[in-house]
Subunit: 480 residues, 2 copies
């Protein structure tokens, strides 16, 4: 897994952090948070918080006490232990796009099918740059609605052995997730020992946590499974059109969720989530890969570190509906700050297109190239006698015409001295013109070839049979 | 002009800088620099340096003494004083692509013509994000070779009133540049008062300065005109395949040029230049927008600051021959570090395609969008009571369904709260599908419209006539 030991790019002064700190405290204590799950209200009332109907005004010191109980780092386990990754610290974990109802391959945009879901899990499994295929990579509209979560988890557990994300639609679906984990990880005690799932819960921003998200969150927390507690903030819609106000709201909402996890299980693993961008105030549409999202992302990393929490931000986010220049620059506008701030959990790291309405096959490959380049860029440079390669200078001397094509250091290192692209071409124009394929067209070739080369990871026959039986039984119970 | 007051992203430790410092000193003192201009050799011999034929071994302390004479900041004057920009400090100056023999518009790649040169100067003049149209934006192959520099300078001085870059092909062409400046700036004394030109001189790397570049450089320096002293380093060809070795070589070569400028005019304005990328060791072709170039760029900024010199790095560099996703991500892979390190002079800021073989019209627009986004991103966030917008939270309260579309802060700021794109679309899929134009296709529309809207800046009739007469006379003298 990737460790980012480069410096963090920090843009907030100490004063700024103090102002933001006062900001979220005022929001939680003076305005309060709405919780649409009675159990959550009871937990907070029992903890001495000020409850009026379904709105709770939280004491900031109480909030900080609870937040301090969350671990700074924890493991996210794959069913193959070699795939287990650390969340927090210098670790950066990368997972695929999440939740897209459509897919795009080449010029075709269409409803996502279960076959697409399988494809993206296979692709995510195949590329070392991704630590996880994620969760709801795309919404397989041809899978029966009430038992679709079973199909998705089954795909994650059989087509990959990397860690995966659990269902958050309800507590029973969260429990289905864990029952399937029981099968492959060796029973509930073992599942509880350390997180087998990281699951994504979104705030119903502004300042509202809904019942289904909360019940999933509480169930996972009780079972020592990790949750990413994510305010969903498109500035101008769910938050003010000011980044500072939005950052304060983001802390308020995330902390308002984290508090509950720590009440039901002190020390439950959580990730400070961020999904922060802005509306285009002219079109009213959400915009991704914007300067505002880059700034928010850098600030969020610094805030999460300030409170000692692992955090999620970023990904290959873009607004563009097609895999073009705009999609590429918007995604890198998000991914570069993601690395600059050392994001611990990078959801939507590959395949996001059209504001996440679309999981794009070609975009998936473009994003992988970006991840590969950034991993190389954010690897510390070793500056020492060897890399000064003085003998090369002695041998080559001065131009004109002198070159380093066959100097000693070159001969020793030419194979691995530079980044080798997955997608980018360095062909000269004459060679390029023979095929004339731009990056998106070449990406099509790459994902096709990668799917053809896919090999499923081993899975014990007994486990597979248990999973099959479980899915069949639960599907019947769920009426699908 | 743009002031980058954000933090610098620094990747070199103090130890690393010391190692690099020892590295360049060893190169200049033990291996030495070849100078192909006898005058340069004489200057260095007179200054007590160790000369053997055309190779000079330089005393590092002498080099540092000379480098220390170069100013940390200076002005680059436009013929319109309002266009004058500062070089150095927090200032970032942006100029167009330089030196492309071909142009690309849409799917057509062809030889560059004088009409293209004019177009790019007009476009550069029109967009506020560019401080200069640069110099040899493209090589106008239909302009007579020996007097082509006159056509180019004439275009810069008549189609724009922004600062421009002088000819460096020889001392006489440098003088032609200044004679034309005399006309529009008010005579040689006035030209000498502060730089009217910044000119690009490249090292014939490794460790060689050729005669034509040197004579141009010395002429400009004597006349108090600025030069960008730029090692030309494609690792694996002109430097070792190690970034640290290349950084040491870069310092050695740049300093070896800067020394001469300070010998002929102590305090002559110079820019520490960097053009550092790598060869693809499989294809042998140069590669731009790579992780190596990003790392080199960040390190170069830190090195130049260490020695107190204004510096040039970066731009919208890419390898891709077409204006596709690769071109976009490669360019941002270069431009984002350019901002992170606060580059003072950004050549190739717009229009670079195919390793600078091509000036791309559409790419020009893509790069402008990148520059606009980055300028916004690298503007400090104001975090204060006002931007905490607490009254908005009080008014909107909690979801579900609550929003900030018409909250007080939104109503006050919706017009200018977020970045407004030049090129990017936020159209939803249905709207987008009505035209189906990707970013590159939309860029075509934008540059066409901008050229149509172009209005030339005012120029006194008398000056224009003098310029016309000068060009006509010199063209005859040059035999074209």
């Amino acid at each position: 897994m990737f460790q980012n030991t480069m410096p963090r790019y920090e843009i907030l002064s100490g004063d700024a952090i103090e102002t933001l700190d006062r900001g979220w405290k005022r929001i939680v204590s003076e305005i309060g948070i709405r919780y649409l799950l009675p159990e959550a209200i009871e937990l907070l009332r029992d903890a001495g918080q000020d409850v009026t109907d379904d709105v709770v005004k939280l004491d900031p010191e109480f909030v900080l006490e609870q937040v301090a109980k969350a671990p700074a780092t924890f493991d996210w386990r794959g069913r193959n232990p070699d795939r287990t990754v650390q969340i927090g610290g210098d670790s950066m974990v990368f997972a695929s796009v999440y939740g897209a109802p459509f897919v795009r391959e080449g010029d075709v945009r269409r409803d996502a099918k279960l076959a697409d879901f399988h494809n993206f899990v296979k692709l995510s499994h195949s590329f070392a740059e991704l630590d996880s295929a994620g969760g709801v990579v795309c919404e397989p509209e041809d899978a029966p609605l009430d038992s679709r979560h079973l199909d998705m988890i089954y795909a994650h557990l059989t087509l990959s052995d990397k860690p995966f994300m659990g269902s958050v639609i309800s507590a029973t679906r969260a429990e289905d997730t864990l029952l399937m984990c029981d099968i492959v990880f060796g029973g509930r005690e073992e599942v509880r020992r350390a997180p087998c799932t990281v699951s994504l819960v979104n705030c119903n921003s502004p300042l509202c946590w809904d019942d289904r998200m909360l019940e999933s969150m509480l169930h996972y927390a009780r079972e020592n499974q990790a949750v990413i507690i994510t305010p969903f903030l498109l500035m101008g819609a769910m938050s003010p059109v000011a980044i500072p106000a939005t950052l304060a709201q983001q802390i308020a909402e995330a902390f308002a969720g984290i508090v509950l996890t720590q009440l039901v299980r002190p020390g439950a693993p959580v990730i400070f989530g961020s999904f922060l961008s802005n509306n285009d105030m002219q079109s009213g549409s959400p915009a991704f890969g914007t300067p505002e999202s880059a700034i928010g992302l850098l600030a969020t990393g610094q805030i999460a570190r300030h409170y000692g929490l692992p955090f999620r931000t970023g990904g290959g986010l873009c607004t563009s509906p097609v895999c073009d220049a705009q999609a590429a620059y918007e995604s890198l506008m998000t991914l570069m700050p993601t690395f600059l701030t050392g994001t611990n959990f990078v959801l939507h790291a590959a395949g996001w297109l059209e504001g996440a309405l679309v999981a794009g096959y070609e975009k998936f490959i473009v994003d992988l190239e970006l991840l590969r380049m950034l991993r190389e860029t954010f690897t510390p440079l070793e500056i020492n006698e060897e890399t000064m390669a003085f003998a090369d200078h002695e041998e080559v001397g001065q131009g004109p015409g002198a070159n380093f094509f066959a100097s000693p250091y070159t001969l020793d290192h030419f194979r691995d001295c530079f980044y080798r692209p997955l997608l980018s071409t360095t062909e000269n124009f004459s060679r390029f013109s023979r095929h004339g394929k731009d990056a998106t067209a070449r990406a099509t070739d790459i994902w096709h070839a990668q799917l053809e080369a896919y090999e499923p990871p081993p899975l014990e026959d007994g486990m597979r049979q248990e999973l099959d039986e479980f899915v069949a039984r639960r599907r019947t119970e769920l009426g699908d």
